[in-house]
Structures are given as structure tokens and as C-alpha cells.
């Protein structure tokens, strides 16, 4: 306990609260001096809460110590090149510069946020189990539904950052990320952002969904501002993390690792980082504009002041559509990375898969207005966006066909390892998400589908297949690398077989009733529509998924201490990180390696991918 209270996390959280109160008190003082109303319905006024929230986030960063090295540099003090982390669990709640520790910090924070977001969904899914309002008020339903979206999104972003941080330097043979302090800073932005986001629960919530469209978001309670602020801070984390990934891959690859000899996951990491680095600003900007509209009366999106509500949607989706590819490209990268290991065959069409990631990333920038076919924007804009949107199907198809060709004639061992089960589940569920996409792309059919439960089913499939299942695959696969122990296979299989079929049932029913008239984001539905049974089955499926996640956590924490020891190349992989013993030492490879072959030449006798330098 003492270790916790002296940790960077505890210091940060305490100072965040203190900074928040001081910032809010400061604004309140100014308001008193100016003769403005000093207090509002949530004690402080809205400007005081917002300014305090910002001060609180900065206080967190200062108190955690993640920026102290930069201050020392500014003062001309020397800092050690390498920080030494403590051995125990407390290194995960203190500032570390080791990319592996940061990767695990990201992953654990992501899992925590995914659990919180999942609990929100269980609460409102229970409410929806039958028609009529059961135990939630309309405002609470809307708040939980809206927070579910954004908490999950930030959880996903952190999970991606976790996998990229842990794996990419190992795959390319680097000692660490290019900018270790910036890397730590990116991670430590996440906890104050999560606190800000969740604080909206205590400040009246908000009722706009994660999209925060004005004018509704310009009228919502103070909780709306905490949502904006939380997303703003988390956005910084994403941008800086992406910058670091690109710099690392560009500058720190092992000798001989040319672009087309990089492990395929690195390609996915690059594609996703390009999007995160260049598009995240737009969601921060659009939310900031609504924030300023509320605080300073700037009428960006207020028609009464000459503003345009549809402008917001353009700005918002310019990030938020490419963001979907930020979520799924690393997951698809994990699928491509793990497939050859388990089928013992080369990755079919490596170059095509690598370039298709970039293709998806680039086309993804040109499709945002397909979220706006019914918005009232000029109809002539719809057609070009329909063409660009459908084009995404081409590189995505290349991935699917190449995966099928990789699996074809592959020698898969029995029983199927859990990590590979999740890869296969990911392919099937992502296929369902992908195939339910084109009808949304063509304007005519989208006029029926837009804003219905069909869309909810569609994007849950893409995110579950493109992110959640591959994320679990990655955890089962690289767990031995991080801990030197394996996760339990039986519990893993129970996890998979509870989660995936339940999820498929859940989303198929979502799509089914969406077509028949179930709108998205509604707290209640008309019993006359006959959706009660469907919704009940969906709620039961949701609880089965929750149960499977519980099994996963039991497995995760139990295996850390009691798992079967696995210090060698458990998967018989060609990848460099498995050529050295697990768990990985603090500064990765003792000897640098040189790339001398192709990464996935399984089945080719005497071929090697990397060769380590001789012991000195």
C-alpha cells in the first residue's frame, strides 16, 4: 500500500484533484471580482470547471515526474542515459522510460478502460432487455451510452499503443523507442485524460453520443465539457505516440532490414501512425470549437450567429473516419503477423499486404462524408464520396484473399492454440463487419441504414474483428515474451468459445432489428415493434461476453504467477524477439542482429531471418 501511495500514479491523481480545485477557485475568484455569478448548479460554474480540469491535467503530469528530465535539461543539469526501474510490480505505476514497461502500462490501462466501457454497456444493455424504462433515467441512459463509445475508443487507442510500444522495437531490433521520455509522456497523458472523461458522470453527464454533434452538444450539461477536455488530452497522447513510432521505425531498424524485410506488423504500425499523427488534430479542433462556443459565445456552429452545424460534422469525421482504420490496421497487422507462425507457411503476397495497409490508410482520408449522406449536405457531394468509400473494399479484399491463401494447405496443429483461435475469430468477425459495409457506402441503401442498429452491428463487428479479437490474440501470443510464462490454454479456449459466438449472435441481431426499424442510441423502443425478444437475447449475449472477459482476467493474473514456464521459442517463430530467452532483458538484445533473409520463409530449409552478432 505504501508503495502505491508513493507512486507516480498516486502523486499525479492527488495533484490532479488539487490542481483542479485551485484552477476552478481561481476562475471563481476572478468571476467574483468581475461581478459575475460565482457558483453554478454543480457548485463551480462551467468556465471554472473547464479551466480547473486543464490545470488538473497539467498538475498530474508535473507531479508524476514525467516532465522533470526536460526541466533538468532546461536548467542545464545532466540526467542519466538509462533510468533503472524497480523490479516489482510498482514499476508499472511509476514513470519508466523502458518501452516494454510503457507498453505494459498502456495495455493494462487499456484493459481497465475497456472493462469500464464494457460495464457501461452492460448497464444500458440491461435497460434495453425489454421495452419501457426499467431502472435508468433517459439522461443516465444517454450518458452511459455516450461514455461507452468514447471510453472504448480511448481504451482501443491505448491498447494499440501498448502493442506497438512493446512489439515494434523488438521486431526491428531497437533498444528502445526513438524518444523514450516523449514515449513516457505520451503514456502519462492517458490517466488524467481518463479521469477527465469519467468526471463527466458527476457533472450532469451529456446526451450527445460520442460524436458530440452541435447544437445538441452546445446545450448539454457541464459533463459535455469534461468529455471534450478528456478527448483533447487523450488526443495528444495519440499524436505524440504516433510521431515516436514513425521516428523509431524510420531511424532504428537493424542492419539489413529494408522496407520489404520488415515484419508485417511494423507496416501496420506505420500506416496507423501516419493517420493518428495527421488526423487526430481535427477531432481535438472540432471539440475545442464547441468548447469555445459554449465558453465564449463564439458561434462556429450556431445558425443564429451565422454558424453552420454541418461544418462540425465535416471536421469531426475527417478524423473520426480515419480513426476507425487507426483502430483496425494494427489488429489486421497482428493477424498477418501470427498467421504464418501457426500455419507454418510464408505470408502469401507479403508486399501486397504491406502496401494494402498504406492503401487503406490513404483512401481512408478521402471518405469521411459517407457518414453524412442524410445530413443535409449538398447531394452532389455524395456521389464522389460513394466512389471513394467503395474503393476501401479493394485493399481490404487483398488482405482477406491473401490470408485465405496463407491458410490454404497450412499445417495447423491440434488442438488449435488459443492465440490462433483468436486470429481465426478475428478474420471471420471482421469479414462480417467488412461485408456489412458496402450497403452503407452506396447512398441509396444508406438512406435506410444510417443511424440504425444495423450500423451499430456493422461497426461493432469491424472493431471486434479488427481490434478486440486480434488484441487478445496478441496478448496470448506475446504473454510468454513479457512474463516468461504461458497463459492457460483451457481457460483461453473457454474465453474464446464463450466470447466469439455470443458476439456474432449479438451483432447479427443488431443488424436484423436495425433493418426493421430499431434506431441507434435510444433508451426505449416501442413494444409494438416486436423487438423485445431480440433485445433480451442480445442482453444475454452481452453478459456471456462479459463472463468470457472475466475468464480471461482470471487466466491473465493467475498465469503471471503460476503459468507454465516458457522461456524459449514457444511458438517456433522466426521473428527476432523469440530467438532470445524470455522474459526480455531491460535493454532488449545483448547482441545486435542483422537481417539476412525474408521474415516468413517457413518451409524453406536452412533459411534464417536474422543472424545475431558473435559474442565478444
Amino acid at each position: 500500500m505504501k508503495k502505491f501511495f508513493s507512486s507516480a500514479l498516486a502523486r499525479g491523481l492527488i495533484w490532479q484533484v488539487v490542481g483542479w480545485a485551485l484552477g476552478a477557485a481561481f476562475v471563481t475568484l476572478i468571476r467574483i471580482l468581475m461581478g459575475l455569478k460565482p457558483l453554478g448548479i454543480f457548485f463551480f460554474t462551467e468556465p471554472a470547471w473547464v479551466f480547473g480540469g486543464l490545470v488538473g491535467a497539467i498538475s498530474f503530469l508535473a507531479a508524476s515526474g514525467v516532465i522533470s528530465d526536460w526541466f533538468k535539461w532546461a536548467k542545464g543539469e545532466e540526467t542519466p542515459e538509462h533510468h533503472h526501474d524497480p523490479d516489482g510490480w510498482e514499476k508499472f505505476i511509476n514513470v519508466s522510460l523502458d518501452h516494454k514497461v510503457i507498453g505494459i502500462q498502456y495495455t493494462l490501462t487499456a484493459l481497465l478502460l475497456l472493462v469500464i466501457g464494457g460495464i457501461f454497456s452492460l448497464i444500458f444493455r440491461t435497460e434495453l432487455a425489454s421495452s419501457g424504462l426499467q431502472f435508468l433515467t433517459l439522461q443516465w441512459y444517454n450518458t452511459l451510452m455516450s461514455l461507452h463509445g468514447m471510453v472504448m475508443i480511448i481504451g482501443i487507442l491505448l491498447g494499440i499503443a501498448g502493442v506497438i510500444n512493446y512489439i515494434v522495437p523488438l521486431l526491428i531490433g531497437a533498444q528502445d523507442m526513438a524518444f523514450p521520455r516523449l514515449n513516457a509522456f505520451s503514456y502519462w497523458l492517458a490517466p488524467p485524460a481518463a479521469v477527465l472523461l469519467l468526471s463527466s458522470l458527476a457533472l450532469g453527464g451529456f446526451d450527445t453520443g460520442w460524436t458530440g454533434y452541435p447544437p445538441l452538444s452546445a446545450r448539454a450539461p457541464v459533463g459535455m465539457q469534461m468529455f471534450f477536455l478528456g478527448v483533447f488530452v487523450a488526443g495528444w497522447s495519440s499524436i505524440l505516440g504516433a510521431l515516436n513510432t514513425i521516428a523509431t521505425v524510420a531511424r532504428m531498424r537493424a542492419k539489413g532490414m529494408t522496407a520489404f524485410r520488415m515484419p508485417i506488423f511494423v507496416w501496420a504500425a506505420i500506416a496507423t501512425s501516419i493517420i493518428a499523427l495527421t488526423a487526430t488534430q481535427l477531432i481535438g479542433l472540432s471539440f475545442q470549437m464547441v468548447m469555445f462556443q459554449r465558453l465564449f459565445g463564439m458561434g462556429f456552429f450556431d445558425p443564429a450567429k451565422g454558424g453552420n452545424p454541418i461544418l462540425f460534422q465535416h471536421l469531426f469525421w475527417f478524423y473520426s473516419h480515419p480513426a476507425v482504420y487507426v483502430f483496425i490496421l494494427p489488429g489486421l497487422g497482428v493477424i498477418s503477423e501470427l498467421l504464418p507462425v501457426f500455419v507454418r507457411k510464408p505470408l502469401f503476397g507479403y508486399r501486397w499486404i504491406a502496401l494494402s495497409s498504406l492503401g487503406i490508410a490513404l483512401v481512408g482520408f478521402l471518405v469521411w462524408a459517407h457518414h453524412m449522406y442524410t445530413s443535409g449536405m449538398n447531394e452532389y457531394l455524395s456521389t464522389p464520396f460513394m466512389y471513394s468509400t467503395l474503393l476501401v473494399a479493394v485493399p481490404t479484399g487483398v488482405k482477406f484473399f491473401s490470408w485465405v491463401a496463407t491458410i490454404w494447405k497450412g499445417k495447423i496443429s491440434s488442438p488449435i492454440p488459443t492465440a490462433f483461435l483468436f486470429v481465426l475469430g478475428g478474420i471471420v468477425v471482421f469479414l462480417m463487419g467488412g461485408l456489412s459495409g458496402p450497403p452503407n457506402a452506396t447512398v441509396a441503401t444508406d438512406l435506410q441504414l444510417q443511424d440504425t442498429y444495423w450500423i451499430v452491428g456493422h461497426f461493432h463487428d469491424t472493431l471486434f474483428g479488427g481490434y478486440v479479437l486480434p488484441f487478445f490474440a496478441a496478448i496470448y501470443f506475446w504473454f510468454p515474451k513479457a512474463t516468461g510464462r504461458r497463459m492457460n490454454e483451457t481457460l483461453g479456449r473457454i474465453h474464446f468459445w464463450l466470447m466469439t459466438p455470443s458476439f456474432i449472435v449479438l451483432t447479427l441481431l443488431m443488424m436484423r432489428i436495425g433493418l426493421l426499424g430499431m434506431r441507434r442510441r435510444i433508451a426505449d423502443y416501442d413494444a409494438a415493434l416486436g423487438f423485445d425478444t431480440y433485445n433480451l437475447v442480445m442482453t444475454i449475449s452481452a453478459f456471456l461476453i462479459a463472463l468470457s472477459v472475466l475468464v480471461f482476467f482470471i487466466n491473465f493474473f493467475r498465469s503471471m504467477k503460476k503459468g507454465e514456464p516458457a522461456t524459449g521459442n514457444v511458438w517456433n517463430s522466426r521473428s527476432p524477439e523469440w530467438q532470445v530467452p524470455s522474459p526480455m532483458p531491460a535493454h532488449n538484445y545483448d547482441q545486435p542482429f542483422e537481417v539476412v533473409g525474408e521474415p516468413y520463409d517457413y518451409g524453406l530449409a536452412d533459411s534464417v531471418y536474422v543472424r545475431f552478432a558473435k559474442e565478444k
Binding site: N142, R351, V398, F401, P439, D451, R519
Partner: protein
């Protein structure tokens, strides 16, 4: 080769079964508008392609898992197949052609459902948190949308507050209603029946309940309804309470205030007139004319206890006479 033949047959079989299965459960609601016909045609094409692609990906994976599974005692790797460029080019170019065809069909269908009949009647639609109202060219306003069958109408839609969306699933079309502009919804009902318009764009607390009946009837029934509504409106306009009731329905008061005592976002109007109201600061006032007039003209001055954190009532642009009418109407709601 044998494997390819078996898989080919299975793909076709699974594709057909998937399509027949999906089709037999009835995916879409009834087609109640001329616009729904081309939309469903394109949708049907989508379902066929979806069924085929689903089979094309899933069947070879499943077959591989079974047919090529590692034999007991075998520790060797599988065959070293790195790729096949002609194959990669094929599965890039063929899908490219398919999506271009779909994009063309999408545009073509869109043009078909946007065809303008210059003689289409125009009905004004107003959306407000959380109610719809329909203003007919015959000079009355209704809470129900009545439409004649087989005639194109164009709805000119305006929002008083936030973004709403007009959606009747049986018509297949959806159009947002955006504050500060007028959006158009052009539809030709082809099936007599009663449907519901439900708001499809999250618009705040009571979004789930923002709905209104849409009734498609024969021309004769429609004309009769128009005539009766005109007569009712003329009669109501004679008394202050009648005018107040009409106004309350038109401007959307009932989206937040019920007349049966149940609580929505705002206090119910049943028995409100003359009652004792506790305000957020703890004081009590009598809901007399003066209080009601003040609360309609300036809703944010006095807030009823228990309604502090719900969405604030907007200020409506009403004349003094209109406010008097509304108060007269409230007085009738015992």
C-alpha cells in the same frame, strides 16, 4: 486439383444457402413508397454479393482447417508458397471493377429516388425536442402526417433547436432536419397503411420518444380528413383555450410537457393551473396567470424543483396574445 473442385462446389452451395436463408426471413419492412423499390433492388444485389463473398472466404478457411490439419507426429513446416502475382493482380482488379459497378448503380439508384414531380404537394414539417408537427397548405397544423397514396409529396423540414432526422422505415428514406436551414424529403407513398416517423438522430433526453403517426390513405379518405381538420381548426380558433391548444401542438410544447400527469423533461400540465409549485430555491408559488405568463415568456427565471439538471426550456417567440391563449388552455387541464 481435387481440393479446388470440392471447395468450389462448397462455396457455391454455402453462398446459395446463405442467400436463400437471409432472403427467406424477410430482411426489410414492407415497401410503402415508390422510392423503396429501387433501394430494395440495390439491397438485394448487395445481399447476393455478400452471401457469395462470405462463402468465398469462410469455406476455404474451414476446409483448410479440416483437410490440411497437421498429422500426428508430423513436425515439418508446410509447403513454401510465397505468393502469386497474377493471382494478387486478379483479386485487386476484379474487386475494383465490382466496386465501380456498385458505385455506378448506387448513383443511378439515387437519381431514380430523387426524381422530382413538379406537381408534388408541399407540407411543412417542424421538428422540436421532442415532437413533430405538420403544417398543411390548407392552413391547419396537425400532429399526425396524413398522405394520399400514389402522389408525390415534398416535406419542407425545419428544426427549432437541434438536429433531428425524419425516418419512416417503410419508406426507406431518411433525412436530417437541421436548424438554420430547410431540408427536403420527397416521397411517393404506394401502400395504404399507418406507419410511424421516428427521429433517427440523437436529439437529447427524450429522443427515443420523438415520433408521430404517418397515415397513408386513399385520395377520398385523405380529402375527407383534410376537410375535417379544416373544420376543427376553424372551430378551435373561436375560443382562447382552443387557440392555445392548437398552438401548444404546433410549436411542440407536448414534447416535454404531458397532459396526463406523467413526467417527461418538463413538469406535466395536468392540474398545474392554480396549484402550488415548489421552485428550485425552495420557495413556493401559486401557478396563477402571472406565474404562467412569466414562465412561458422567460422559462429560465423560475425553475421547478426537480427539473434543475434537465435540458432547459428554450425561449419561444410568442406574442402576448398567444401566451394568453396558452394560459387559457392550461386552465382547462384539470
Amino acid at each position: 486439383m481435387r481440393h479446388f473442385v470440392i471447395v468450389g462446389v462448397l462455396v457455391v452451395l454455402v453462398a446459395v444457402l446463405t442467400y436463400v436463408g437471409l432472403n427467406s426471413i424477410g430482411l426489410m419492412p414492407v415497401e410503402a413508397s415508390a422510392q423503396s423499390v429501387p433501394i430494395d433492388w440495390l439491397w438485394n444485389l448487395d445481399v447476393r454479393v455478400i452471401s457469395f463473398l462470405f462463402a468465398l472466404i469462410v469455406v476455404p478457411i474451414a476446409y483448410s482447417l479440416i483437410a490440411f490439419r497437421r498429422k500426428k507426429g508430423d513436425t515439418t513446416d508446410a509447403e513454401h508458397i510465397e505468393g502469386n502475382t497474377p493471382l494478387e493482380i486478379t483479386w485487386t482488379v476484379v474487386p475494383l471493377i465490382v466496386v465501380l459497378i456498385f458505385a455506378y448503380l448506387g448513383a443511378y439508384t439515387l437519381a431514380e429516388i430523387r426524381v422530382v414531380d413538379p406537381s408534388a404537394a408541399e407540407i411543412k414539417v417542424r421538428a422540436i425536442q421532442w415532437a413533430w408537427s405538420f403544417q398543411y397548405p390548407e392552413g391547419f397544423t396537425s400532429k399526425e402526417l396524413h398522405l394520399p397514396v400514389n402522389k408525390q409529396v415534398v416535406l419542407k423540414m425545419e428544426s427549432s433547436d437541434v438536429i433531428h432526422s425524419f425516418w419512416v422505415p417503410e419508406f426507406r428514406i431518411k433525412q436530417d432536419v437541421v436548424p438554420g436551414r430547410i431540408t427536403e424529403y420527397r416521397v411517393t407513398p404506394i401502400l395504404v397503411g399507418s406507419y410511424m416517423v421516428r427521429c433517427a438522430e440523437l436529439c437529447g433526453a427524450s429522443h427515443a420518444y420523438m415520433q408521430a403517426p404517418v397515415i397513408v390513405s386513399s385520395q377520398a379518405d385523405y380529402d375527407a380528413w383534410i376537410a375535417s381538420q379544416k373544420a376543427l381548426a376553424a372551430a378551435a380558433a373561436q375560443t382562447p383555450a382552443g387557440r392555445g391548444e392548437q398552438l401548444a401542438n404546433t410549436i411542440g410544447c407536448r414534447g416535454c410537457h404531458t397532459i396526463d400527469g406523467s413526467k417527461l423533461v418538463g413538469p406535466s400540465w395536468q392540474g398545474l393551473y392554480g396549484s402550488q409549485v415548489t421552485l428550485s430555491d425552495g420557495t413556493t408559488v401559486t401557478a396563477n396567470d402571472a406565474y404562467l405568463i412569466e414562465s412561458i415568456a422567460n422559462p429560465s427565471i423560475k425553475i421547478v424543483k426537480g427539473f434543475e439538471t434537465t435540458t432547459a426550456m428554450p425561449k419561444f417567440d410568442l406574442t402576448d396574445a398567444q401566451i394568453q391563449d396558452l394560459v387559457a388552455y392550461l386552465a382547462t387541464l384539470k
